[in-house]
């Protein structure tokens, strides 16, 4: 069950990153796409506090990443290589999301919000997946100790 969950999460992450690529691909080539994104940007900025929202999302993902990482480092001798790899992916995706969201804007990239949301999705899925892996690994270790 856990393996299926990991695979689904991986597919979701790849779909999010591929979606970001596709949106950017068409934004560079299709005027209609740019104008639709301009419209969505203006609508969102009018209806939602986009500045605080993006800062808040980055902060939450960054804090969760640090917490999961600290927890992993505390228990790293009890976890597998896969969990180690998951943590590296988590750091990369969080850095990608935070770096892009804080370093870019709608002025530099028309598809900024859409790409930022898709990067957030990928990073959030990876953080949750890694957190589950770390926690489960801990449980398995304790279970193994208990069996002894």
């Amino acid at each position: 069950m856990k393996k299926i969950g990991y695979i689904l999460a991986l597919v979701l992450e790849i779909a999010a990153l591929a979606g970001a690529y596709i949106i950017h691909y068409f934004t560079r080539r299709k005027l209609g796409m740019v104008r639709y994104l301009n419209f969505k940007n203006m609508t969102w900025e009018r209806d939602y506090p986009m500045g605080p929202l993006k800062t808040g999302c980055v902060a939450v993902v960054a804090v969760l990443t640090v917490l999961v990482l600290l927890f992993f480092l505390k228990k790293r001798k009890e976890t597998s290589r896969l969990v180690y790899a998951m943590n590296i992916c988590m750091i990369v995706l969080t850095a990608l999301y935070a770096g892009y969201t804080l370093g870019s804007s709608t002025e530099t990239m028309t598809d900024y919000y859409f790409i930022s949301i898709l990067f957030l999705l990928a990073a959030a899925v990876q953080v949750i997946k890694t957190a589950i892996a770390v926690l489960t690994a801990k449980g398995q270790t304790e279970g193994a100790k208990g069996e002894k």
Binding site: Y6, L10, R28, R35, Y36, F39
Partner: protein, 368 residues
């Protein structure tokens, strides 16, 4: 472990296939184009004498352009050909698949706002910005510019902007690259760049009268009996059934506007085109406009959604010597930004036509 590795491999393969798919598609298209170009070159039509055209003539044949390239058109020995597209040259598929030999690439965003903000509203950029972008390509007021592009209205928009700024002789290959290759002429895939110039040669815009801003359009509608604001939009847009665009959620027309037809959707000017995709001549336009509520004696200002389609009838009348014409640049998009502006929804000749203001219009009329 095997299952996990297999799943990871599957995902990587899917991603790689998707990315490779984009590239390989364009590559095979490129090869096909090269082959077809070679074929058409072999079948190249025999040289025939091509009639000279006036400075003010905009739509020219591929044969005329070819004869100019061959130095057979007096005064046009040094023309600058440019393909009009959207975005960076590297992203323009049509230019990279094959363009008229020697053609440079120019971007629609070099002449008009790309943000859609209240200040920009997809209107023409400030004249100094337009001029600066033209100078980067080496275009001055005296440059003989020949444009073509995949989008008939987008190309017309660029030509209109150049004329507005002050380029004295702007032409468009009627029928674009399709007409060029069908005439049997060669294409190339090298990316060309113009040699930058320093001095445009005239204060821009040299023809501010070609462009009508929103305040002038509103004032003229209210006070000038001879003025006609002509909608170059589809019937669906004209009747207020849809805005025609997925980024405009209200439908209607400025109150007092008349319909100039020409479009089947918000992204074409099919009504102004011949069966072969070339722009009709004046007689063809007069036929389209036979039962419209304006004549060519009126002062005419064309508009559409954001100012592309409207440039096509402007150019056809311009090349036929009409001076009582302009383009209301902001179109329906800018009109929508003013809640107190008057609008009509429906055929104004009908009793069902609703007269209201932008602020009172219902939303939910964006195109799907």
């Amino acid at each position: 472990m095997k299952k996990r590795a297999l799943a990871a491999l599957l995902c990587v393969t899917m991603t790689a296939a998707m990315l490779a798919g984009c590239g390989s598609g364009s590559s095979s298209e490129e090869e096909t184009t090269q082959e077809s170009t070679e074929e058409t070159t072999e079948e190249s039509t025999e040289d025939v004498e091509v009639e000279p055209v006036e400075t003010r003539t905009v739509y020219v044949t591929p044969q005329w352009v070819n004869s100019a390239l061959n130095g057979e058109q007096e005064g046009y020995e040094d023309i600058l050909i440019a393909e009009v597209g959207y975005g960076d040259v590297a992203d323009c598929v049509s230019y990279n698949e094959g363009h008229v030999p020697g053609a440079i690439y120019v971007d629609n965003c070099e002449v008009e706002d790309a943000t859609g903000s209240e200040e920009g509203a997809y209107n023409l950029l400030a004249a100094d910005e337009v001029v600066s972008n033209m100078l980067n390509h080496g275009i001055t007021k005296d440059t003989k510019v020949v444009l073509y592009g995949a989008d008939v209205s987008g190309t017309a928009r660029q030509a209109f902007a150049y004329l507005w700024a002050g380029v004295e002789d702007v032409k468009i290959i009627n029928g674009g690259i399709d007409a060029w290759t069908e005439a049997g002429y060669d294409t190339e895939t090298d990316v060309n760049e113009g040699e930058a110039a320093d001095d445009f040669g005239v204060e821009a815009p040299a023809h501010p009268e070609y462009r009508l801003d929103i305040q002038d359009a509103k004032e003229k509608l209210e006070s000038d009996d001879n003025f006609r604001l002509v909608s170059i939009r589809s019937e669906e847009e004209w009747l207020g059934e849809s805005s025609g665009y997925n980024y405009m959620d209200k439908a209607g027309e400025p109150e007092g506007a008349v319909w100039g037809k020409g479009s089947e959707t918000s992204s074409d000017v099919n009504g102004f085109l011949n069966d072969d995709g070339t722009v009709k001549d004046l007689a063809g336009f007069e036929e389209v406009w036979a039962d419209c509520d304006f004549t060519l004696d009126n002062e005419l200002s064309f508009y559409c959604g954001t100012g592309w389609r409207a440039c096509v009838p402007f150019l056809v009348l311009y090349e036929n010597g009409y001076d009582n014409i302009s383009v209301y640049d902001g179109g329906w998009y800018e009109w929508l930004m003013h809640d107190d502006y008057p609008v009509q929804v429906g055929d104004p000749a009908s009793e069902d036509c609703v007269h209201t203001t932008v602020g009172e219009l219902p939303t939910g009329k964006a195109a799907e």
